[in-house]
């Protein structure tokens, strides 16, 4: 009884604290949880004009249609392949850059490198994709100009499926490496400098120090960043892919998210599109949990 009384008193004193909480809660209910209720669209043959009342319940039919359909293999393969290159190239790059920047004894060069690599992140994805498309244009793009000067044939890269993943990976590398390096630089600066001095006295060379002091020092940060980002990586940057891909590059560029987007927003098949999106969200969730479990076992670092 005493507890309830006390809680009552606190609430009475703090009524305006709950008032402060209210707008946020309402917002989450409207724009984060209402859409989750909308996920039931995935189980209906949903018609936007008739609403749920006029739509038939179809159970897992949309999921079955997607998984057995002709687009499943292609979109899943492309999602995994693009995620694979993100993990292999774009995830380690900031770590290497951060180590390089902290190893630069010349303060000016170190600062300059950091400032220059940080910048591309703040250019909008539309402009970045615009640059990519224009640089690679077969008639006026600088890349093809260089190829022609080297005596090669100009290529229309944006319509050739074999180049798409390379283009996308390079673009992401350029745009995000400097930004993602910041967290690692902060972690590197936090490493105890005495360790390096002791290692120098013991006669350890540069590489030995990087391998045995620098690297172990930032492993927890690496693991945290990996787990935090694996879900994002699997969802891949559909906003950029939507700007870059064309029907002719679908064989390598069309990922689950862009497929769901086309099916839903462009073709109006909301049921199937929601099912596809839900499938993707589940895969991402499973991967985050799996990455956390794995890192717990391998490195004893985990988020939860």
């Amino acid at each position: 009884m005493g507890n309830i009384k006390k809680a009552g008193r606190i609430i009475k004193r703090d009524w305006d604290l709950y008032l402060l909480l209210l707008p946020g809660v309402i917002w989450y209910l409207m724009f984060a949880y209402k859409p989750m209720v909308g996920l039931r669209t995935a189980f209906y043959d949903y018609n936007i004009f008739r609403g749920f009342a006029g739509s038939t319940f179809v159970g897992f039919d949309h999921f079955k249609d997607f998984i057995t359909g002709p687009d499943f293999y292609r979109t899943v393969k492309n999602t995994l392949m693009i995620a694979f290159w993100q993990i292999v190239i774009c995830f380690p790059a900031p770590i290497v850059l951060a180590i390089a920047i902290t190893e630069m004894k010349n303060k000016f060069v170190s600062k300059m490198t950091q400032t220059a690599t940080f910048l591309p992140y703040f250019i909008s994805i539309v402009v970045v994709c615009g640059m990519v498309v224009n640089f690679l244009s077969p008639s006026t793009g600088i890349i093809n100009m260089i190829l022609v000067k080297l005596g090669m044939e100009p290529k229309y890269f944006m319509v050739m499926p074999q180049y798409f993943r390379g283009i996308y990976t390079t673009m992401t590398l350029w745009q995000t490496t400097g930004f993602n390096a910041i967290v690692y630089i902060a972690a590197l600066v936090g490493i105890d400098q005495e360790l390096y001095e002791a290692a120098t006295v013991d006669g350890a060379g540069k590489w030995k120090k990087i391998r045995h002091i620098t690297f172990p020092g930032i492993i927890p940060t690496i693991v945290t960043m990996f787990i935090l980002n694996i879900g994002k990586i699997v969802k891949v940057g559909y906003e950029a892919i939507l700007l870059l891909y064309k029907p002719s590059t679908y064989p390598t560029a069309d990922v689950i998210a862009t497929y769901a987007y086309r099916v839903g927003i462009e073709n109006g098949n909301y049921g199937l599109a929601t099912a596809v999106g839900l499938f993707e969200a589940m895969v991402a969730l499973v991967l985050v949990v799996a990455a956390n479990k794995l890192s717990k076992r391998v490195t004893e670092n985990a988020l939860w």
Binding site: G24, P35, M36, T115, V126, V148, Y156, I182, V183, L242
Partner: protein, 297 residues
Amino acid sequence: MKRASSGLVVSRGEKFFNGAMIVIGIIITLLALYPIYYAVIASLSKPLYVENGSVMFTIKGFTLESYRKAFQKEGLWMAFGNTMFYTLFGVFINMLFSTTMAYALSKKRLVMRKFFTLFTVFTMWFNAGIIPLYMTFKDFNLLDTRTAIIFGFAINTYNMIILKSFFEQVPVSLEEAAFIDGASNIQIFAKVYLPLSKPALATVGMFYAVNRWNSYFWAMNLLNDDRKIPLQVLLKKLIVDRVANETEAAIITAQSLSSPTTVIYAIMILAMIPMLIAYPFIQKYFKTGLTLGAVKG
């Protein structure tokens, strides 16, 4: 970042290493900046030189004609104004919703605090996706409205959590003293906490502003009316969709002062300029915010 080998003589190997790092730093810097630099020089050169590949490192045949043409693009100024509106008013709404909620969640005495925190954090791990959110806007009759853009994206959970952990670090004694003076929670929030949190507010405000300025995806899907679209959506139409029809082979002579391509480069530079002006501030505040976010998770 100083790592002086205290008192030890710098060895030849070390000297070589330091020299190599300078070269590597310069190469990385050039690689990062070249695409932007190229867009600048191409936008200021005569199209003939751009399109025959002689513009590579310097401006050839300086002209501002491409910028003149860019300024005349239909809807450019309106879209620019819209973006200003969405950014300024949008960030205000972002901060209003995020700071109030973060403040309430930062108080340990809040009943069901754990529940409400999980209520927000859960959406970082699982969200419904594009189609259900689109349908939500439709259900609320918000399609093709500015309200959708401003209020539909009022809170970014990550930013809200950064604010929450910042508020948690403020000493409780300040709050208790204000309570004794008879201040209400809202007064304490507005008069004690907000002034104390200026660096965190600047950081998160900057996060929101950059996002508002640069985003295109939801504006593209939610807005049909050309008078409402922000700059990024117009840019998408002008620079990305244009190249989709590569057929428009303009005839370019030595006399031409601009071409579709050079105008596009000019438009891209114009779109980048506000961001470049703000970059020193962005750099300052983003770094603190990023490290704050990483430590707190």
